[in-house]
């Protein structure tokens, strides 16, 4: 059912676009970052869908890397506060 997969992919892209509105709107950095996390995992879902839809198994690996690195950004964002309090 490639049609249905394509529509699903469009649904995810729409969801990602809505998430982007929150990244643009903020208001604080935490809001932007959490929206980043959401579009990150939406991106993982979209890549997996596309891998099936476009017949590109390599996109699964892209999704894997994206999934693993998503947390690094949040860690860097909150980790910095720990050091700022230091000095």
């Amino acid at each position: 059912m490639p049609e249905l997969l394509a529509v699903s992919a469009l649904g995810l892209m729409l969801s990602l676009f809505l998430g982007l509105l929150r990244v643009l709107r903020g208001p604080v950095a935490g809001d932007r970052l959490l929206a980043m996390q959401l579009i990150g995992s939406t991106g993982v879902g979209l890549l997996l869908l596309l891998s099936l839809l476009l017949d590109q198994t390599a996109l699964i690996d892209v999704a894997l890397v994206l999934a693993l690195l998503a947390a690094v950004a949040a860690a860097a964002f909150t980790g910095q506060e720990l050091e700022t309090r230091d000095d």
């Binding site: 809505l18 604080v28 947390a71 909150t78």
Partner: protein, 94 residues
């Protein structure tokens, strides 16, 4: 039959993603919005991956997809907590 199941799972997964994004836009404060994040990852990606695993009908690929789901789950639970803790700390400091 399996095709129908797979499609149903995929579409409902996308539905939960959309619900999460709408929540992200509608909910009034940072903490409430964090709920939207972990929910989309948990059920949205979970159902989507269940659907895709049924679609591929390849055990090894299915296992890899489940690994990706677990990674996203653990990462989003930790980042949601980190962001909430970060905001909470600032609130109580000022």
């Amino acid at each position: 039959m399996i095709e129908v199941m797979a499609s149903l799972l995929t579409v409902s997964g996308v539905g939960f993603y959309l619900a999460g994004s709408i929540g992200l836009l509608r909910l009034p404060d940072l903490y409430s919005r964090l709920h939207a994040l972990t929910k989309a990852d948990n059920l949205g990606l979970g159902l989507l991956i269940a659907g895709l695993a049924l679609h591929t009908q390849d055990l090894l690929i299915a296992l890899k997809l489940v690994l990706i789901w677990l990674a996203v789950l653990a990462a989003s639970a930790a980042s949601a907590h980190l962001i909430a803790q970060h905001a909470r700390r600032r609130e109580t400091q000022s």
